[in-house]
Symmetry: C2
């Protein structure tokens, strides 16, 4: 079994396990109590906070522990917005943030605030200039991830922080994907993280708020965690989280090099081994362990199932996975192919042999799915004679509309137009992406009786 979904959760680091076991006996009591069991718990909590703060690069009194990375983001966004209520109710986020940030943004809009979603380049990266354009007089907060969770692209945090700082707008950085590798570049005002992404236990997140940043906790609070996170501290897990963060940081430099080489291998070889694949994300500025690609004429769920049967646990941003029928908002914002999407995220310690075996297994898995779906052979279609062809893919789900398009395309003369009728949301993303991959012209979308008509003109 090869677990290649570290971007979701990493198995418990041995140091986390050790620290957890040790503190089950020492850290179960209420750290707010004055008797010895309480004092002992308080010492553990204080030491964990010091260690986590050092790894984050902040003061211990700037950092509190939350119940998850998601809770850290929800509290961080709401607290920073409430703290600057008098400035305004405008929020800036990138279009490729984690859902916890986007849900917070939606919440603000539901309550009458406004949100600007900053677009990204085809690599998934934002630009500082785009943030600069999005900032307004009434902007209370800007949010930017340190690195993208689906494609691994590292964001220009320092540049964006510079633009925000110049405008007097605090920047919240969701550092969930990168904290294992090092501290976030300077300039952030609020920072969030999640322990189970670095090999700590679940049930622990981090929320750091720089001194001087206006912050008003959004919900009912109590005396715990500086009045920012209510409820009894998840103490043994907090100790394990802090200890494992130190441990993974000690191993980070060497492991980053090793994983980067392995993911580089996947980036380079997948397009050679598998026809009609688009590797997405920034080839250089990226997380060491993450590589993401999309396979034409493949549905993500079937491919995940094939890979699972072959012993590989990976994730997908395709539609038709995990019960959702819309493709990943990240792939959509990047404008890349979403069908047959696979995210490989290697946990630290992944053996080279497992990556090699993945590269052996993948071509067959993709071919198997394509065959079942009746996909055309690679780069199918010589010059044809049809004209004004209509492909009726109504009621058919990704990747079938693209497959149907590819099947007829060989019969379309150069200069000819194909209208693909589809009511599948993924088609809006995947048909333009297919055109880009094939060097054909995407001629836009027209309303239709059902769904939409996507126009494709043959150029070669």
């Amino acid at each position: 079994m090869s677990y290649f979904d570290a971007a979701s959760a990493v198995p418990l680091h041995p140091v986390a396990r050790q620290a957890l076991l040790a503190s089950l006996d020492e850290g179960w009591a209420d750290p707010a109590r004055l008797y010895r069991e309480g004092r002992r718990a308080r010492l553990l909590l204080d030491a964990a906070r010091e260690a986590a703060a050092e790894a984050v690069g902040c003061r211990a009194d700037e950092l509190v522990f939350t119940a998850s990375g998601t809770q850290a983001v929800h509290l961080g966004v709401a607290g920073a917005l409430a703290g600057r209520r008098r400035t305004g109710r405008h929020l800036v986020v990138s279009a490729v943030e984690h859902s916890s940030v986007l849900h917070s943004a939606q919440r603000l809009e539901d309550g009458g605030g406004t949100v600007t979603r900053v677009p990204v380049l085809r690599t998934g990266a934002v630009t500082a200039a785009a943030y600069g354009e999005a900032l307004r007089e009434d902007t209370a907060l800007a949010c930017l991830q340190s690195a993208n969770h689906e494609v691994g692209t590292v964001q220009p945090v320092a540049e964006v922080a510079g633009v925000c700082g110049a405008a007097g707008v605090p920047l919240l950085v969701d550092a969930a994907q990168s904290l294992a590798w090092g501290p976030v570049e300077d300039g952030w005002s609020v920072l969030t993280g999640s322990a189970h992404k670095w090999g700590g236990p679940s049930g622990v997140g981090l929320l750091a708020v720089r001194k001087g940043v206006r912050f008003a906790p959004p919900g009912p609070v109590d005396e715990r965690e500086s009045g920012r996170v209510a409820g009894f501290e998840n103490l043994p897990a907090i100790v394990a989280a802090a200890a494992s963060l130190r441990a993974v940081r000690a191993e980070a430099a060497g492991e980053a090099l090793r994983l980067r080489e392995l993911t580089e291998r996947i980036r380079a070889r997948v397009p050679v081994l598998v026809p009609d694949v688009e590797v997405v994300g920034d080839p250089e500025r990226r997380l060491p362990g993450v590589v993401t690609f999309s396979c034409l004429y493949v549905d993500g769920e079937s491919l995940l199932h094939e890979l699972d049967r072959a012993g590989f646990s990976v994730s997908s941003g395709s539609s038709c996975t995990s019960g959702t029928l819309t493709p990943s908002h990240v792939l959509k914002a990047m404008g890349v192919l979403s069908e047959g999407n696979v995210r490989v995220s290697l946990p630290p310690g992944t053996p080279e042999a497992e990556v090699e075996r993945f590269l052996e297994v993948l071509p067959g898995a993709v071919a198997g799915v394509r065959e079942k779906l009746g996909a055309p052979p690679s780069a199918a279609g010589g010059p044809g004679s049809g004209e004004g062809v209509v492909v009726d893919a109504l009621g058919k789900r990704c990747p079938v509309p693209v497959i149907e398009l590819a099947k007829v395309f060989g019969d379309v003369p150069v200069g000819g137009l194909v209208r693909v009728l589809s009511d599948d949301e993924a088609a809006r993303l995947d048909i333009p992406a297919w055109c880009e991959m094939r060097g054909q012209e995407y001629a836009g979308e027209e309303p239709a009786d059902q769904g939409a008509a996507y126009l494709v003109r043959r150029l070669s």
Copy 2:
């Protein structure tokens, strides 16, 4: 060392430890994922939910896991209020609820809603009649604890649920203190609990919402926990929480009898062993392991410190403990003495010998504190000759104002009046309580230049 603060947190139950260790290997992955590690985690989560629901007495799909009992209460109250927004924004709570409920109530008031705090009897119990009077046309929710966390009094949940049900008002029951002993009486609409109160790990709470109860999650949500609690599930801890709840329930009947006998012994013997003590809470309808008493002329913090040095970890609702200068809102609502308050809450398994040793140590600890404070001898004061005596206790903290009163009282003739000047909040509670204990008349409170003047008339 004897840890007698089970009402705060109970050391990890052996079954919880076992389940936690087992599920660290099996339950670290994302239960929302389709690959095998995810499916395995999902199976563990589903089984834990089934087990917890059975213990609570609800359907599995009515129960979600939260990060703490406090989070369960905050989400439960806010969700139920939001679900009945159209009915109104009036909330009914008892005056002796846990701070998490009272903070939620405060939050509602801050946002323009209204709250009725139902008074309690001197035992700490509410009456169904008082709830009936508090309910209004615009009441969205009523809250009642299953048992009080400071004095152990069991509340008449079924009767209150009946009154609420008749009025069509849902009842939220905070069952944190009683879930170890059995399910809550029927009639609740929303129920909350906290795993570390029954020997489960910290980081896990329960929130059950009966089908048909209108409920709107208050914050940003995601697809987890039925859209009621956002963020990655704290899985190994959830498994441990559910397993230990089953385990403590299996032992509950026998252990309840045993602890009840031990706390009965403390209830009966403390007033004999220590002069000027008031045992508080209902003598019959009470939690098996909790007994609370207050010692005249003693400050809680010093007594806790003495007991800690003697090897006993207990809690106190007195002022001057844990950094707060106001006495417990519970003792205040009950109208009982707050000074020198001690809550003994025995964890399951407490050996009889430890209780006996506590009863040996307590009298000396109380006497030591009284001596340091210069308290009068027990029931001091024969007939005296003073008249219109004024005791200036300004700037002095509990229990000094009462000590100063007792010192002069012997010189006051029967029928004479003493005015105690005090700016300590605890005096408002403790001077009337002293009068009650001594059979003297508390003649009310008058404004003074600083603080207030408390009037006491000698009757005997």
